[in-house]
Assembly symmetry: C2
Homo-oligomer: 229 residues x 2
């Protein structure tokens, strides 16, 4: 909808107003979510990426390993299907699917409603798996403690340069599918340089959810997230 900014002046003004009011409403709900998570001692992570970058695969391994000793929960967003909730539901953690229909991102209200029906007793880490989209989720704060952007090495080294808003908003960037980086001709040095250029604030983790290679720094981060009292 940002494309409206390119429309004739009158329409553009009207659209910007609506967009601002939408984002302000979202920010207020995000602040409520953030307070709620903080009061409950929950670290909430907003996982964003292109479709198929491996968010669900990373959460499957995380719930099956890290989730054995630390209670976790998950909220997963998709346009359609509850496939991801079923995949994640096998590990005993509370999981809720949000089906967005045609919406291209989660917003703070959707997360609040999904969390409402989750048993969060004892939960220390809440994973919020966003809709697969490297553009629109950048504008929508969900009340997360950490925003985690995943980039699959199949997508190429240049994506941070081509989709800067979401990388600029990241606390953590994870390069995924590193077990096939060689086969794909992925240049990890170039990718890391692009990430540092666009997102110098972000912690960089390289891993493979399939093999488990490089997973330890991820679990360390989850075990003692920055900013936790």
């Amino acid at each position: 909808m940002d494309a409206a900014l390119k429309s004739p002046p009158k329409a553009a003004t009207r659209t910007i107003e609506v967009r601002m009011s939408l984002l302000e409403g979202n920010d207020r709900q995000a602040a409520r979510n953030r307070r709620r998570f903080r009061e409950a001692g929950i670290c909430a992570l907003n996982l964003v990426s292109s479709p198929g970058a491996g968010k669900t695969a990373l959460l499957e391994r995380t719930l099956s390993e890290f989730g054995r000793t630390t209670r976790c929960a998950a909220v997963v967003g998709d346009l359609a299907t509850d496939n991801d909730a079923r995949r994640l539901g096998r590990f005993g953690a509370p999981v809720r699917q949000i089906t967005t229909g045609s919406a291209c991102h989660l917003d703070a209200g959707m997360v609040a409603r999904a969390v409402e029906s989750l048993d969060l007793a004892g939960v220390r880490v809440l994973f919020i798996e966003n809709v697969g989209n490297l553009v629109c989720p950048a504008s929508f704060d969900l009340g997360e403690s950490l925003r985690v952007v995943l980039l699959s090495c199949a997508e190429g080294e240049d994506k941070p340069l081509k989709y800067p808003p979401i990388f600029k908003s990241a606390h953590v960037v994870i390069l995924t599918k590193m077990d096939v980086a060689g086969v794909l001709g992925f240049d990890r040095g170039a990718a890391a340089e692009n990430i540092r250029r666009i997102a110098p604030q972000a912690r960089l983790i390289e891993l493979s959810a399939r093999t488990g290679e490089g997973i330890a720094p991820w679990y360390e981060l989850l075990g003692s997230p920055p900013g936790r009292a």
Copy 2:
């Protein structure tokens, strides 16, 4: 912005109005584009996919091979950088980059303005490479003759089920990076079944832009696109 549909009634109504008026304006411009392309004997293709599915790689090979005997042109959309225009500019075809800033898709007006400055004399095929996004471009007709959805086998077999609007709108679905399908454990049968279930109208092509494997049906399609008089 569809998320606004979940907002309280008043805000939602207002947003729907703006969205409808935006889409109607876009549809009118798309009709003008379509007429213009048809009168010039140009087949315009709207290439949509997730970031990194291989749109530019496919166009590089296409311009260097198919483009040798058939005059082509390209318009490429990205939030930032002119990397893709530079990659495609090496083959002698007229190319224009559209930089959208934060906009998550191309619209018909952006395409009209980009085409304005292109030399289309003798051009038979115009490639419009959309912003990498498997959600938002579905709603925006650009005036194309064919909508081509690319799905990289690195993204997984389930994406047609999880992102149905864009697949339902496709004339052609291309499975890309098939040279690494085996390494990635990609189940082409399951993917094809999901595509046929969601997009029975679409022609399915499987190829690798890197090796050239499976490229012939793509060139045949470009040489005699359906619907051309």
